[in-house]
């Protein structure tokens, strides 16, 4: 067997956690090898070891049969290994060429960088592999798809033979994903070998030859993709039989709780992220705003909750105009918000659990009285929530939230928001980065709120979550709602087309 890369019995540890525990990966020359696992399984860590960003504690790496010691990315480059990162490592105000040649700048007289020569080489390579870019464009001005091509070019510029793609499709439209898949096949036909890190089973079936599965840092097995079903791969990834369904009864929608009319919201770059958006949300129903990341869903949520100012349009909560109301006011009117970024918005990590539980109600009786905090009431409130929602922490209410697991931190936020019984519960990517058990729990709670007659506005980037949890799906594209469909009447393909803007689907009336 002609293995171009062999990672044998790799163990990589960080303080308190074994990210890779005796993992073996063998990649054949000229194949696309998928590395599959859930969030936190250890895929990125393993590849970071290969790319020289980390060093393994135990285990051996062989490149083309020869044992090697990769201490930094330069050495990885020398062996022909290159990495296309999930979170692009591009300097936003540099040009495409400057980013590509950083660290390997060609020079001319007096030690000056020879940008013209560099740009020429970039153009050559981009044409050879069908990766069109403008060498002089600034990163902050080009599309996400083009930025990814710059990442790929970085590696090709350095004559990489083995390319590692880390979750490359997370930020792409379905069209761009198709393009990427054909680029990968093109690269392989030119003799390159590819390792594809992903948790998207469909894509593995589309392009990969073999698939190695990791779970919680451990090596589970390697399969021939053609001979394995998605369900089988999922089972290896998760460890038990996975049904992609969520148990729920039919919904009973009643009145419109939130009505958004022709909303326009600018983003931090002064462009309209929300561009004339119309949407109605009813009580007793889970409505999911679905779309590719970056189409305005985050800004929409921030406008509804009051974290961002509205440029024009109306937001009506139970018939009342709220665009100018403060965050506090909207909370008191009956809005609950489980934020996208739990560390940034949802919690004060340095506070104790009970102080975080009090975050939305510290200013009211019984938690405070005339501006003086009532510590006993706060403790009782927090203890009650911990009990009700089964939140695990080191020392109960006094635990510093920073030390809690992601799943329990999210549970705490959900407990806090749900207990207040808000008329409208907004959940933005509520299961991001969590393990399967936590995800199931959160989905159950969202359905429970819906069954209790509340309105649930879900925002999600995960297709399965969108299809299984929601009653109605509103697809957002370039700041507008391009279609509202019933979840049980649509499928991934139709949604994918709408999310890419190519099919403005039928808008079902909310009757």
């Amino acid at each position: 067997m002609d293995y171009v890369i062999e990672m044998l019995n790799i163990t990589k540890e960080f303080p308190g956690i074994k990210a890779n525990d005796d993992v073996t990966l063998k990649v054949e020359k000229g194949e696309i090898h998928a590395l599959l696992g859930e969030n936190g399984a250890g895929k990125s860590t393993l590849m970071s070891v290969l790319f020289g960003l980390y060093q393994q504690e135990k285990g051996v790496i062989k490149v083309r049969g020869e044992e090697v010691n990769i201490n930094n990315p330069n050495i990885a480059n020398k062996y022909g290994i290159g990495m296309v990162h999930q979170h692009f490592k591009l300097v936003h105000n540099f040009t495409v060429t400057e980013n590509i040649v950083l660290g390997m700048e060609p020079t001319r007289s007096f030690g000056r960088i020879d940008i013209a020569r560099a740009a020429k080489k970039v153009k050559e390579i981009s044409e050879r592999y069908g990766l069109s870019v403008d060498p002089y464009a600034k990163i902050e001005d080009i599309t996400v798809g083009m930025q990814q091509r710059v990442e790929i070019l970085k590696m090709l510029y350095r004559d990489a033979e083995i390319l590692i793609f880390d979750e490359p499709t997370a930020v792409l439209t379905p069209q761009e994903i198709e393009e990427l898949m054909s680029i990968m096949k093109e690269l392989v036909s030119e003799g390159k070998s590819i390792v594809l890190i992903t948790h998207k089973l469909r894509e593995i079936k589309m392009v990969a030859d073999h698939c190695t599965v990791l779970r919680r840092g451990k090596y589970i097995g390697t399969v021939d993709v053609a001979d394995t079903t998605e369900e089988q791969m999922a089972e290896m990834m998760v460890g038990r039989e996975v049904s992609f369904e969520v148990e729920k009864g039919p919904s009973n929608p009643t009145d419109v709780i939130l009505s958004i009319k022709d909303l326009k919201v600018k983003n931090s770059r002064g462009l309209y992220a929300v561009n004339g958006l119309n949407l109605d949300i009813k009580a007793g129903e889970v409505l999911c705003v679905a779309g590719i990341d970056g189409n305005g869903q985050s800004e929409l949520i921030q406008a509804i909750t009051g974290l961002t100012k509205v440029d024009s349009g109306k937001i009506l909560f139970e018939g009342k105009d709220i665009e100018k109301e403060s965050v506090r006011h909207r909370t008191l009117m009956g809005m609950g918000h489980i934020p996208e970024d739990r560390h940034k918005h949802g919690l004060v990590l340095e506070f104790s659990l009970e102080d975080n539980m009090a975050l939305q109600s510290y200013f009211r009786e019984p938690l405070s009285h005339n501006g003086i905090l009532q510590p006993d009431a706060v403790r009782a409130y927090s203890d009650g929530l911990i009990e009700m929602f089964d939140i695990r922490s080191g020392q109960g209410s006094v635990t510093q939230v920073r030390s809690m697991s992601g799943g329990n931190q999210q549970k705490a936020i959900i407990a806090r928001e749900v207990e207040r019984s808000p008329k409208l519960l907004i959940a933005a990517q509520p299961t991001r980065g969590l393990d399967v058990g936590a995800i199931e729990y959160i989905h159950e709670r969202l359905i429970a709120e819906r069954d209790a007659g509340k309105a649930v506005l879900l925002m999600s980037l995960e297709m399965e979550e969108v299809l299984n949890v929601s009653d109605k799906i509103a697809v957002i594209y370039e700041g507008e709602i391009v279609g509202v469909v019933n979840a049980d009447e649509t499928n991934e393909n139709e949604l994918g087309l709408m999310m890419a803007g190519s099919k403005k689907g039928k808008v079902t009336t909310n009757e």
Partner: protein
């Protein structure tokens, strides 16, 4: 031994261990500097003992009197303003703001109290209250400006406060000279009833300048603790200081809290200025340069972990160094060694991440 090591490695103890270690290291470095310059470091400790406790170790065994309470009185005089500037810096730190402007806030506080004392007629007791409040208010206004600019325009408070320190110096100097009866270096002395000076306190400390200001200091410490620990306002300030995004999410008015917090911090420093002007001296002084109370306040706050009690202890510590300066100078030690030691302590506190690693290593963690 292992238990001690384990205790050292336990993160929970680091909160007070770090300042203690920083203080220890600061003194060690100071001693080394003295040794290199050919000075016996024991002189430092003799000076410190004398300045704090009034006990002159050199005189033990000589038949002359060893204890002089005047030094003890003076020691407290030195401590008082820097406890207040320490509280000022600490309060701002809790909200995530760096108040380097305590210096300027203190100066305007001094000025305001002198201004009221000289220009406003009325019954002594009333005017005295006005002087204290006015000084605090002046400091609050001086603190409000950087707070507001930060909140509204996101201008970094570090540069603004430093600029305002210099502005305060020049403007107060000018206006002191404009007051009736002022010379080029000081104003007229305040009337008897309008100072915090105390015959009684002086008499029990062998004619030191000890004055009633310490009551203001104690009240200030209690108010600090109460606001931060017990009120919803303090809860908000802490939230904003740790995570302004989460604070906004929770409906708190982040900008308003920033400005308010700087006002309170400014008021504390202003009060520091008040007690210097009407407690220690009893008249306004034209200053050739800033006297460093603000920077001492930074050291106090950092060593005290930005808490009320910590500021008290920090103030007592750095006050001892300040009080020792004149004694050191007269026994041949350049007084600036005190500044060197203070700055090294701050430096070591800044190195806390490194110190924590060392402690954890000793404690046996992997």
């Amino acid at each position: 031994m292992n238990k001690f090591k384990g205790w050292l490695g336990n993160e929970k103890n680091h909160r007070f261990l770090i300042p203690l270690i920083a203080i220890l290291l600061g003194f060690i470095v100071g001693s080394l500097v003295m040794i290199i310059s050919g000075i016996n470091p024991s002189k430092l400790f003799i000076s410190l003992t004398r300045s704090v406790f009034g006990i002159n170790l050199d005189k033990i065994g000589t038949g002359k009197s060893v204890f002089n309470p005047r030094y003890v009185g003076e020691y407290f005089v030195y401590c008082m303003p820097i406890v207040l500037t320490g509280l000022s810096v600490a309060f701002a730190f809790r909200t995530g703001l760096f108040n380097i402007g305590a210096e300027g806030q203190l100066m305007v506080g001094s000025f305001a109290s002198i201004l009221i004392g000289i220009m406003v007629p009325g019954p002594s007791f009333l005017i005295l209250i006005l002087m204290i409040l006015g000084g605090g208010l002046a400091g609050a206004i001086w603190g409000f400006v950087p707070g507001y600019l930060k909140a509204r325009f996101n201008v970094h408070e570090v540069v603004v406060t430093i600029m305002m320190n210099y502005t305060a110096l020049y403007l107060t100097n000018y206006y002191y000279k404009q007051l009736p009866g002022s010379s080029n270096s000081k104003t007229i002395e305040l009337d008897e009833g309008l100072t915090l000076k105390s015959e009684f306190l002086s008499s029990i400390t062998n004619n030191s300048r000890l004055h009633w200001g310490f009551i203001i200091v104690i009240i200030a410490i209690i108010i600090f603790w109460f606001i931060i620990e017990k009120t919803t306002f303090g809860y908000e300030l802490k939230a904003v200081g740790y995570n302004p995004h989460a604070a906004r999410y929770a409906g708190m008015k982040v900008e308003r809290n920033a400005a308010l917090s700087m006002m309170i911090a400014g008021a504390y420093a202003g009060l520091g200025g008040v007690i210097i002007a009407i407690g220690t001296f009893g008249y306004g002084r034209v200053l050739p340069a800033a006297e460093g109370y603000g920077f001492d306040g930074i050291a106090v706050a950092l060593v005290g972990g930005n808490t009320a009690l910590g500021s008290l202890f920090g103030g007592l510590l750095f006050g001892s160094l300040k009080a020792a300066q004149p004694i050191m100078q007269s026994s041949g030690i350049p007084r600036d060694i005190a500044i060197i030691i203070s700055s090294m302590i701050v430096l070591f506190v800044a190195m806390q991440n490194g110190i924590k690693l060392v402690l954890k290593h000793i404690g046996g963690a992997k």
